[in-house]
C-alpha cells in the first residue's frame, strides 16, 4: 500500500534516473514495435483522417507519396480517407515526432536506449527549416529531401553512431541547458554538441568527401538537428515513469493538431483529450494568428520530462517569443515548480543558482492551483504544405487535467 505522494516520488525518480543513450539508427519498419506496412504513426492522441487538421493531413499525404503508396496528392487523399491506412499515435509505439510527427515504415529512426531501465524510444530525423513534412508540406522538394536524408544521411550517421559507444543524451542536454537552450524551441547549443560528437566519426566513414560535407553541413545548419533525439530521450525518461500504481504524474503530453491529450502514470494507457488551442506567439513576416493551426506535435514530451518551457529560465534569449523579459523567463520556470513534484538532479539552471529543473507534473497540483504546464512550441500554418509561420507559447486545456483527476477518483472510489 502506497500513498499518492510516495507513488509520485517513485515515478519521478524513475524519470530522473533514466539515462537515455542514442544507440543507433534503424528504420521504423525494423525497429519500432508494432509497426506495420500501411501504418502511419502521427503526433498526439488518436485521431481519424476526417478530424485531422491541415498540416497533419499534409504530412500524411507526403508520407504516402514517400512510401510509394500514392503518386500524387489526390491519390494519397483517396487512400488516406479510404480506411486502408492504419493511423496510430507515435506514443502507442514508444515513439515521438515533432509537429505532425508522421513516421512511415521506411523512414529512418533514432533508437534510444534507457540504459538505467529496460525501455527504448524512437523518433524520426529532423528535416530542418522551410518546406518540411512535419509542417504538412509534401511538394517534390520535400519528398526529395526526405529521400536524401533516408538514403544518404541516415546510413552515414548510423555508421558514425555505431563506431562509438552511443551518445549520452542526458549529459548532452545538461550541458546544452547551461549554454542557453531549453531543449524544445531552442536547441542551438545542443545541436552543435550533437554535431561535435558525430563529426569525427562521420569524417571516418567510407562515403565521399562531398557526402560527408553535405551531411555535416545539414546537421550544422539545422539548429534543430538534436530536437528529435532529445524528444526520444524525453520519451524514454517519461515512459520509465509510466505505470506506477497510484501515481498522478503526467507521463505524456501530445497534440495532433486537433486535440491535446495527456496520459497519467497510474491511469494506464487512457488519453484525456480536449480541443488543442492556438499558440500565443510571434509570427514570421506576412503571417498572423489567423493563419495558425491549433497546437500540434509530440514535442511536449520535453516539458513532460522537465525541460522545454519548464527550463525557460535557462534560455532567456527566446523569451521575446512572448514579448517577455529575462525576468519573465525566470518566472516561467518558477511557476512550473508549483505543479511539479521534483527538481531534476541532472538538469540544472545556472540563472536559478543551479536549481534542478521542475520535473514531474502532478495532475493534482495543476487542478488545485489552476496552473497548466507551459509549453514552448513552433506554430504551423493551418493549411497543408505551407509550413511554419511562427513560434510561441501554449498551454494545454485545463479540462484534460480535470478529466484525469475525475478518472483517478472513479478508479479509486474517491
Amino acid at each position: 500500500m502506497m500513498d499518492i505522494d510516495a507513488a509520485n516520488q517513485a515515478a519521478v525518480e524513475r524519470m530522473i534516473s533514466a539515462r537515455p543513450m542514442l544507440s543507433g539508427i534503424s528504420t521504423a519498419r525494423d525497429a519500432i514495435p508494432g509497426m506495420q506496412e500501411k501504418m502511419l504513426l502521427h503526433a498526439g492522441p488518436p485521431i481519424e483522417w476526417s478530424r485531422m487538421s491541415g498540416p497533419l493531413r499534409g504530412a500524411v499525404i507526403g508520407a504516402l507519396i514517400f512510401e510509394g503508396l500514392a503518386e500524387n496528392e489526390s491519390q494519397a487523399r483517396e487512400l488516406a480517407s479510404g480506411g486502408e491506412i492504419n493511423f496510430e499515435p507515435c506514443h502507442h509505439h514508444r515513439a515521438v515526432g515533432p509537429m505532425a510527427g508522421v513516421i512511415s515504415p521506411s523512414m529512418a529512426v533514432y533508437v534510444i536506449d534507457n540504459v538505467e531501465g529496460d525501455n527504448r524510444a524512437y523518433s524520426n530525423l529532423n528535416e530542418g527549416y522551410g518546406k518540411v513534412l512535419r509542417y504538412g508540406a509534401f511538394s517534390d522538394e520535400v519528398i526529395k529531401k526526405l529521400k536524401w536524408m533516408n538514403d544518404t544521411m541516415a546510413p552515414v550517421m548510423a555508421e558514425a553512431i555505431a563506431a562509438g559507444e552511443g551518445i549520452d543524451l542526458r549529459a548532452l542536454l545538461a550541458e546544452a541547458l547551461h549554454m542557453g537552450d531549453e531543449g524544445h524551441n531552442r536547441n542551438k547549443a545542443g545541436s552543435l554538441l550533437f554535431l561535435k560528437q558525430l563529426a569525427p566519426a562521420i569524417a571516418r566513414t567510407k562515403v565521399s568527401d562531398e557526402i560527408k560535407e553535405e551531411v555535416l553541413s545539414f546537421l550544422g545548419d539545422n539548429a534543430l538537428s538534436v530536437l528529435n533525439p532529445v524528444m526520444a530521450a524525453c520519451k524514454a525518461m517519461a515512459d520509465a515513469a509510466h505505470g506506477v500504481e497510484g501515481s498522478t504524474l503526467v507521463t505524456a503530453m501530445a497534440r495532433n493538431g486537433t486535440d491535446f491529450g495527456i496520459r497519467v502514470s497510474g491511469l494506464g494507457d487512457r488519453w484525456f483529450t480536449a480541443p488543442a488551442q492556438i499558440p500565443d506567439g510571434l509570427y514570421f513576416p506576412g503571417y498572423s494568428s489567423e493563419d495558425a493551426n491549433a497546437d500540434i506535435g509530440d514535442s511536449t514530451i520535453t516539458e513532460t520530462a522537465g525541460i522545454g518551457g519548464f527550463a525557460m529560465a535557462s534560455a532567456p534569449a527566446i523569451v521575446t517569443f512572448i514579448s517577455g523579459t529575462p525576468q519573465d523567463a525566470l518566472n516561467a520556470t518558477l511557476e512550473m515548480y508549483e505543479i511539479t513534484v521534483a527538481e531534476h538532479s541532472h538538469f540544472s539552471i545556472p540563472q536559478l543558482d543551479f536549481r534542478g529543473t521542475p520535473t514531474g507534473i502532478d495532475v493534482r497540483k495543476v487542478v488545485e492551483l489552476g496552473i497548466t504546464p507551459r509549453v514552448n512550441t513552433g506554430i504551423a500554418h493551418k493549411e497543408a504544405g505551407v509550413g511554419q509561420v511562427g513560434a510561441g507559447l501554449v498551454r494545454p486545456p485545463m479540462e484534460i487535467f480535470e478529466q484525469a483527476l475525475m478518472a483517478y477518483a472513479d478508479d479509486h472510489g474517491l
Binding site: 497510474g266 513576416p285 521575446t320 515548480y337 478508479d411 474517491l414
Partner: protein, 565 residues
C-alpha cells in the same frame, strides 16, 4: 502611393525572436502595411519573396540584417525605418516583475526563514491553508472570518500539539517584535505585552499606552471566539505563556469580551501563574474584586492602558504571593454557608478564580443546582434557604445540619476542600467553634480534606472572635476575615483542573526577526515590507477554481490512500 523601403545592416546579428518583435513593433507604426525583419538567409529571402516584400536587385549576405517596410507612402516607410534603433533599444523594466508564488509550498521555498503565515482569504478556503501552514511548522495569523468553530478547534488543537501559535480566526491585529500584522498602529516598543480577543481593543489599548509614554513588547491576537468554552482559550493560554517567558514584557494586559466561566477560571489561574502584573479587561464583565494577587481588573480600555502603564512605573515588586505552604490537590470544593450574601460573594469569586460553581443561589454565570441535597462538582450552598430550614433552626444558630452536611461532603472521594462561614454576634450560636472545631478536626483526619473558614465578627461579640479563631485554627482550619481571602485560599489549594502539558511555543516566535508569508490581502504584504520585515506574497486563487467536486476529490487525495486493487 504604396512604397517598399529597405535597409541592410551588414553583419548585425540579432536573435530571430528579437527581430520578430521588431517587426511587430514596425507593423504598429502609422502607415505601415507590412514589414519584414530577417537575417538575410536564403530561406528568409524566400519568405520575404512569398510575402511580396522582396526588393529586386538586393544581394545581402546571410549574416546581414535585412529590414523591409511596406507603407502607404515613401515618407511613411522611411520614417518607420528611422524608428528601428529606438525600438531595438527599448527594454522593458524587469525589476517589477519578480515571481509571485501561487502556493504556500513554493512561498515557503522562497522564504524558508518565514515563521509566520498571514491568511486573509475567504473563510471557506482559509482553514485548509492554515492547516497547511501548521503542517509546515509555521505560526499563523488568521485574519479570515467565517471559519467554522469546528475548524477553529481543530486548528488550535493541532497548533497547540505542535507548539505553534494560531492567532484567529477573525484576528485583526497583532504586533510581533515591533512589526504590526493586519491592522496595527505604530506604537513604540516597551514593557507591556498584550493578549486580546478583540482587534480594535488591542489597537485602542496599544495606542493609549503609546500616548501615555510607555510601549508594547508584543501584542497577540486570539480571535473573537478563543475564550469560548468550546475553544478553551487555547491561543490566549499560549500567548500568556509566551509573555510570561518574554524578558521584555514586564506587565501583561488581557482584553476580551467576557469569557465562559470555566475558561475565565483557567485563564485567570494562568495569569496568576505568570507572576507578572496582569491587567484584565473582560469588557462588560463584573469582576468579583478589583485586585487579586497580581491581577488587576479594569472596566474600560483607557483604564486598562493606564493601569498597565502605572504597573510598569511601579516596578516589579508585586509578584504573586503564595499564602500558605499546603500542597495543591486535585478535587472539588464544597461551600456550606450560613449567610446568603457571603455565599453569593464567594460564588462570584470562586467562579472567576477556581472554576464553574454549582449553587442553589441565583448568580450570573453560576450553574443552578438541580437538587440542593446532592452536590456536584464545585458546589456552594446557602444553607439558610427554605429547603434546609423548614422545621429547624437557622444554621447560624443550629450547627447540626451543617456538621452532617460536612460529613456527607467529606465522604465524597472527589472532594478535597470544604469552605464554611461562621458569623458571630447577638442572636447567633453562643460558641459555634466548640461544635464546628471537632467536626473540622474529624473530617480533616478521616477524609483528608482541607477546610477554609470565613469568620465574621468582632472581639466585642459575645463569642469573642479571637477565641473562635484560635479553636478553629487549632482544629486545622484556614481562617480568613473576608470572602476574597477565602477564595484565594481555595484557588491556592485546588490544582487547576484539566491542565495537560503541551509543548510550549518557542520564544523565538517573538524574538526572531519577523519574516512572513502573506496569503490574501496584498495590503498586509505591503505593510510587512514597509515595516522592514521579510515577506513573500502568495498570488492565491481558489483551489480548482472553486469547483466543489474537484476540491472534494483533491482533499480526499490528500488524506486517503489509493486502493492497491
Amino acid at each position: 502611393m504604396t512604397s517598399i523601403q529597405h535597409e541592410i545592416r551588414r553583419g548585425a546579428y540579432y536573435d530571430s525572436v528579437v527581430l520578430m518583435q521588431l517587426q511587430r513593433a514596425l507593423l504598429e507604426l502609422q502607415g505601415v502595411e507590412d514589414a519584414g525583419v530577417v537575417m538575410a538567409t536564403a530561406a528568409n529571402m524566400e519568405l520575404l519573396e512569398d510575402s511580396g516584400l522582396l526588393v529586386s536587385g538586393l544581394e545581402p549576405r546571410p549574416e546581414d540584417l535585412l529590414i523591409v517596410v511596406k507603407a502607404t507612402s515613401e515618407l511613411m516607410a522611411n520614417e518607420a525605418l528611422a524608428q528601428v534603433d529606438a525600438i531595438l533599444k527599448h527594454r522593458r523594466s524587469s525589476a517589477t516583475d519578480a515571481y509571485r508564488p501561487r502556493s504556500l509550498e513554493s512561498a515557503i521555498k522562497a522564504l524558508p526563514e518565514a515563521a509566520w503565515v498571514l491568511i486573509s482569504i475567504p473563510g471557506r478556503y482559509a482553514a485548509a491553508v492554515a492547516r497547511q501552514a501548521l503542517d509546515h511548522g509555521k505560526h499563523v495569523f488568521l485574519y479570515s472570518d467565517n471559519v467554522t468553530l469546528e475548524d477553529e478547534v481543530e486548528l488550535k488543537t493541532t497548533a497547540r500539539e505542535r507548539g505553534l501559535l494560531l492567532m484567529g480566526p477573525d484576528c485583526g491585529t497583532a504586533i510581533i517584535d515591533g512589526v504590526g500584522f493586519g491592522f496595527a498602529n505604530h506604537v513604540r516598543r516597551g514593557a507591556i505585552g498584550l493578549v486580546g480577543a478583540s482587534g480594535t481593543g488591542l489597537q485602542a489599548i496599544s495606542s493609549t499606552i503609546h500616548q501615555l509614554g510607555q510601549g508594547i513588547s508584543h501584542a497577540l491576537g486570539t480571535g473573537g471566539r478563543d475564550l469560548k468554552g468550546e475553544v478553551g482559550a487555547i491561543t490566549a493560554h499560549q500567548g500568556l505563556d509566551l509573555l510570561a517567558q518574554d524578558a521584555d514584557t514586564q506587565v501583561i494586559v488581557i482584553v476580551s469580551k467576557p469569557p465562559d466561566a470555566e475558561v475565565a477560571a483557567s485563564l485567570l489561574a494562568a495569569a496568576r501563574g505568570t507572576g507578572k502584573p496582569t491587567v484584565i479587561d473582560f469588557i462588560g464583565y463584573a469582576p468579583p474584586v478589583g485586585r487579586f494577587d497580581n491581577l488587576i481588573f479594569t472596566t474600560s480600555l483607557h483604564e486598562t492602558a493606564r493601569a498597565a502603564v502605572e504597573r510598569v512605573a511601579a516596578g516589579l515588586d508585586e509578584r504573586a504571593r503564595r499564602r500558605h505552604g499546603g500542597q495543591r490537590r486535585p478535587g472539588y470544593l464544597r461551600g456550606l454557608f450560613a449567610g446568603g450574601t457571603l455565599a453569593m460573594e464567594a460564588v462570584r469569586g470562586l467562579q472567576a478564580f477556581v472554576g464553574p460553581i454549582h449553587t442553589n443561589l441565583t448568580v450570573p454565570g453560576a450553574i443552578r443546582l438541580d437538587d440542593p441535597l446532592v452536590s456536584t462538582g464545585h458546589t456552594v450552598l446557602d444553607l439558610g434557604e427554605d429547603v434546609f430550614t423548614v422545621g429547624r433552626l437557622h444554621p447560624m444558630i443550629d450547627n447540626d445540619l451543617r456538621i452532617r452536611r460536612m460529613r456527607q461532603e467529606a465522604n465524597d472521594e472527589h472532594v478535597s476542600l470544604l469552605l464554611l462561614d461562621v458569623v458571630l454576634g447577638e442572636g447567633a450560636h453562643p460558641d459555634p467553634a466548640s461544635e464546628l472545631g471537632p467536626a473540622i478536626e474529624d473530617v480533616r483526619q478521616h477524609s483528608g480534606v482541607e477546610v477554609g473558614v470565613l469568620l465574621v465578627g468582632t472581639e466585642e461579640d459575645p463569642q469573642d472572635i479571637d477565641h473562635q479563631r484560635e479553636i478553629l485554627e487549632a482544629a486545622g482550619a484556614h481562617v480568613t476575615g473576608d470572602t476574597i481571602s477565602l477564595v484565594a485560599f481555595a484557588a491556592e489549594t485546588l490544582e487547576p483542573g484539566g491542565e495537560t502539558q503541551w509543548p510550549t511555543v518557542s520564544s523565538t516566535a517573538l524574538s526572531a526577526p519577523v519574516a512572513g508569508i502573506n496569503v490574501g490581502l496584498e495590503t498586509f504584504y505591503d505593510s510587512l515590507i514597509s515595516q522592514g520585515a521579510a515577506a513573500v506574497h502568495v498570488d492565491w486563487r481558489p483551489p480548482a477554481g472553486g469547483d466543489d467536486r474537484l476540491m472534494d476529490i483533491l482533499s480526499k487525495m490528500k488524506t486517503s490512500r489509493p486502493d492497491t486493487e
